[in-house]
Symmetry: C2
């Protein structure tokens, strides 16, 4: 190994280790809080993530679930099947796409998902409380442009759309919820 190779090796190793350590630490924290949040509903994280994605995409294929949920196709399929057996979702074909199977929440599934959202308690999410000092200091939550760029490079442009889809749907719903309070949209949108 010549000098430059050695330096590059060291740099790559330190950087990879740092990012590995960061992502493990973050995910383990999220995983713990997410499990605690939904445990009373008899759901695991994968099941809740499937309900979440199906709710936001309003008809998601198994490969959508696998992609946006960052899980194996077999994991997506097996847990979706389990949720179907419990009556929370149905599998169906679309009129214009007979090849893929789409997942739609049943009213029971939607009700379950919305009731989990209602018990979401931000103070119980450590990543939220750990980010609060940044908001206090800068007036807004961090946006992680470098990280978003890395994730775009890892998973592709399409993957990024899940962030906006969630935001749009929340925006629409919460504005609808607050129609008797018309100032909300104007104040904050």
């Amino acid at each position: 190994m010549n000098k430059e190779q050695l330096y590059n090796f060291k740099e790559a190793m330190i950087y990879s280790h740092k990012l590995a350590q960061i992502s493990k630490a973050l995910w383990k924290s999220v995983e713990k809080d997410w499990q605690n949040w939904i445990k009373d509903y008899g759901l695991n994280i994968n099941e809740h993530h499937i309900l979440w994605i199906s709710y936001h995409l309003e008809g998601a294929s198994i490969s959508d679930i696998a992609k946006f949920g960052v899980m194996h196709v077999s994991t997506a399929f097996n847990f979706s099947k389990k949720l179907e057996e419990q009556g929370y979702l149905t599998f169906s074909k679309k009129e214009d796409d007979k090849r893929n199977t789409y997942i739609c929440l049943t009213p029971k599934g939607e009700e379950l998902f919305l009731s989990t959202l209602n018990t979401y308690e931000k103070s119980q999410f450590s990543i939220y409380t750990a980010s609060q000092p940044i908001k206090d200091l800068y007036g807004k939550f961090p946006e992680f442009p470098d990280l978003m760029c890395i994730i775009r490079n890892l998973y592709g442009e399409d993957f990024m759309s899940i962030f906006n889809k969630l935001e749009d749907k929340f925006e629409a719903e919460l504005n609808a919820t607050s129609e008797d309070e018309p100032e909300l949209a104007g104040t904050h949108s």
Copy 2:
């Protein structure tokens, strides 16, 4: 829920979801590449992480392993025990601390760990290749100050020391390796 509560709820939910999605996506990518890297050595990620931490701390307690490896104490203990049975490490007491059990790599364990490092191939680490365009653009790898702040708030100051420990030890070793090439330290440190 009044207007402000509703807005805060929406903001918290969107932010938490975004960070959950980011950290799952990152960790699943790291996990896959890490597994691929070490699979030929008959190690899993937890075992490799234990070897890594023991190597860098030069004597780590089970609670050090659990903390820096972001794993349960029982996971840290069970996998350490397995590595001990294979002759890769030993459990011992320190002269000045009879209460805690410390883990030390055996020469066989150190050899195994160093041979994994030798087969580390940065092009096989997607997080590395996905970060390369940022380096090409800005001349250096991203440092994630917001994320490091969040992790410091989540895990405490002590947790952050693992990043420097790794860097220092690499620095020392690689400089030692390149003693016949004295320019290295001068050029890049």
